[in-house]
Amino acid sequence: MSRLRFTIPIALFALLVVVLAIGIKESPDKDLIPSPLIGKPAPTFSLPSLTAPGQRVSSAQLRGHWYLFNVWGTWCVSCREEHSMLLRIHATGVIPLIGLDWKDERSDALSFLQAEGDPYQSIAVDRDGSEAIMWGVYGAPETFLVNPEGIVVYKYIGPITERAWQDQILPRLPLSETPAAAGSS
């Protein structure tokens, strides 16, 4: 009985330590809410193209290819920060970038791309923000890695960094998509 007198408080204290440790460990991620779309089919869409008037950008066209679906807007400061990294990704030729111009003015978007360079293979326009909801977007930039079967493999929240590209995105791609083999497509 006297042994329990010590073990119970120690066990309770240990439990408290574990609970608080989980709280501390998880709390910085409060802003990064894991996407339930990972491992699930990406939303299907068919939206007007920003850069090619009269044409549409659709998920059907993208079937059979890996692509990065990047949600951005010229009003979004972090997206401007991210832009140089997107240009570098584009330059590697590893994977096409598909943009979703989220709640933006067409003229703003076009002049921004003209001034800063256009890293995108195509850009879909989400004028009223309903497409972003389909993808569970809650802040730009957000980037989804989609595989040839149309499954969302990974989501990156915030401006893509060189490190995220090297450590998170590239390793998820098959070897055939590495820079050496990418020139063909």
Partner: protein
């Protein structure tokens, strides 16, 4: 004097009317124009149950941000299209996760959240009962009670 005061009265009336009618438009919830009171009630209940993903401690009903307005519009459209509350909740959860619900559902992942208070209460009750029983068992051997127990 008559004419100006009449104009003043009209101006005051207009100001009052705009204050009464216009003021609600300043709130986060835009006028909804749901066709029936039933739909309106369901709409209000739904938007109070979803978290605004940008300002995470506010509901969609309270949040003034753009995204919340877009999500309210989405919910409105789904209601008008005849979707059930359940379908709308599933739609949101499948895109934003359980985090979007202010009241988390009882699933494996959240079971501890619901069960922990009961378990802790049970531990407390068992602990308290054990101590009380022990005290009760000890009582007869209390030196002050010696006379009574021996007799």
């Amino acid at each position: 004097m008559r004419a100006p005061s009449g104009a003043l009265l009209a101006l005051l009336a207009a100001l009052l009317a705009s204050a009464l009618l216009g003021a609600p438009r300043a709130y986060a919830i835009a006028p909804t124009q749901m066709p029936t009171p039933q739909l309106e009630a369901r709409y209000l209940a739904l938007i109070q149950g979803f978290r605004c993903m940008q300002c995470q401690d506010e509901s969609l009903a309270d949040s003034p941000v753009d995204l919340a307005a877009d999500m309210r519009r989405q919910i409105r459209e789904m209601l008008l299209a005849g979707k059930t509350d359940e379908q709308i909740r599933d739609f949101m959860v499948s895109r934003y996760g359980y985090f979007i619900l202010f009241k988390p559902p009882f699933v494996l992942k959240t079971a501890w959240l619901w069960l922990a208070p009961g378990v802790l209460l049970a531990i407390g009750v068992i602990g308290a009962l054990t101590v009380i029983r022990k005290r009760a068992a000890l009582a007869p051997t209390d030196p002050t009670d010696n006379d009574l127990t021996d007799a």
